[in-house]
């Protein structure tokens, strides 16, 4: 069979180039205009260090919460393939909504649920909004679906009959989960956790709505960046560079991710 010549209309290059420029040029500007010389001083500022520390802490915590709660949810979601259409689609929609919902709306919704007079919040003996815990909840709300969908994909891709084979060898359900299912979906869990972490780290809308921006307790890196832009633009640029570096790091580790035992 003759190979058809790959053919791109010249007219295609113009919009494609514009699109690429729109995606890449802002980042170029950020790197070019960054005050590289003052960077060490800017990054040593207390506002910056406390925002950075808080961001890392809360993003790690919300990733941990997402792992503990999200892996079981992913298992349920993967099994739901055999359910009737209505509950199956409802479940999937519930998991997917935070992905498409504007984060600010998520923050408002969290306030209405967990706020002082919220649906559940009115029964709480303590106040949740505007605390570090609120930051973690907001980030988890926004970021967990990334993990759930990544893990679910990995579970669906593994042959479930391998688990049956393990059971015939005398392995209990827990052993099968721990020694077979979990290692087989580990690459999916790892990439899901990375996506979840980077999404949590960048979370702005839900966090500022539900948790506010108190320096040291709820002012995370993206919020500090936004606020600094009005008073100290150089600091904002420095913070942006940090967030950009983390994003690039996540991208690189996703691409070259280590896949234990599955590389052949």
């Amino acid at each position: 069979m003759a190979r058809r010549k790959s053919f791109l209309a010249p007219g295609l290059w113009i919009p494609a180039g514009l699109a690429l420029g729109l995606l890449a040029l802002p980042l170029v500007a950020l790197v070019v205009r960054a005050p590289w010389a003052e960077l060490p001083v800017l990054l040593a500022d207390r506002t910056v260090t406390s925002a950075l520390g808080l961001s890392v802490l809360t993003a790690v915590l919300s990733t941990a919460v997402s792992l503990v709660l999200g892996i079981p949810l992913a298992l349920v979601l993967a099994r739901s393939a055999k359910w009737p259409a209505v509950p199956r689609r409802l479940l999937r929609a519930l998991v997917t909504v935070p992905l498409v919902l504007p984060p600010v709306v998520g923050g408002v919704a969290l306030l209405l649920l967990l706020g002082r007079r919220g649906l559940l919040g009115q029964f709480l003996p303590f106040q949740l909004p505007f605390t570090t815990a609120a930051v973690v909840i907001a980030q988890t709300f926004v970021a967990m679906p990334f993990l759930v969908l990544a893990v679910e994909g990995a579970i669906r891709a593994t042959d479930r009959r391998v688990e049956i084979a393990a059971a015939t060898l005398g392995a209990s359900r827990w052993t099968v989960f721990r020694r077979i299912t979990l290692p087989l979906v580990a690459p999916g869990v790892a990439s899901g956790a990375l996506l979840c972490f980077s999404r949590a780290l960048g979370e702005f809308g839900a966090t500022i709505t539900f948790a506010g921006s108190f320096p040291g307790t709820t002012q995370t890196l993206p919020i500090a960046t936004y606020l600094q832009l009005q008073t100290n633009p150089d600091a904002a640029i420095a913070l942006s560079l940090v967030l950009l570096a983390v994003s690039v790091g996540v991208l690189v580790s996703l691409r070259d991710r280590w896949v234990p035992g599955l590389t052949s």
Binding site: D159, R161, V162, I164, A165, A166, A167, T168, L169, G170, A171, S172, R173, T175, R179, I180, P183, L184, P260, G261, L262, S264
Partner: protein
Amino acid sequence: MSLTAAVRVPERSVDLDLTVSRGRTLALLGPNGAGKSTVLGAIAGVVASVGQITLGGRPIENAEVEDRRVGYVFQDYLLFPHLSVLENVAFGPRSQGRGRAASRSVAGEWLDRLGIGALAARRPAELSGGQAQRVALARALAAEPELLLLDEPLSALDVEVRAEVREELARHVKEWGGLTILVTHSLDDVAALADDVIVLEKGRATQRATVRELVAAPATPYVSRLVATWSED
């Protein structure tokens, strides 16, 4: 030690009584879709079935898969892709509560016994079909089953190596000496591995015989056709 099973899986119209006694291998011979694998699945506990199953005097029809002590060599082996060959074989002993070192040494012994000790460190993806089959057999036997199920153990192999692997398999199963049920649609497999045969067609037994009787006096057109084409080889 023997197995007596009444396998009833109404959804797949399978209804079969069978008995296997010590040191004998029973072949379930039948065309595709006859319900052969369903019978194995029911005995192993992975397919829901009604009817009593007694293994070595122990009723197992209500036992969980992991408590039945029924070894299963799957058609496509289903080795654990993330574990080495040694770890695959050590999985059974380890899951049954033996220590890590003890399980690995048991696994090593089985690999040596099946002549594949040199493959211990490999991953399943690095094995040929014949090697993978032996690992699957070692893995099943290392779990010390009271009954061994072989589901089309040669069908995933290239035709050129089939005869040799079949001979090896027959030797190892004989050396092991426990109860074995083989599912196949090949008379070659039956002749090499089995003592008794049940012909299964549409979920029912249409002939019960020894291998010799089967070849001498086929009871159904299906078996006649098999025997006719087989003799021509």
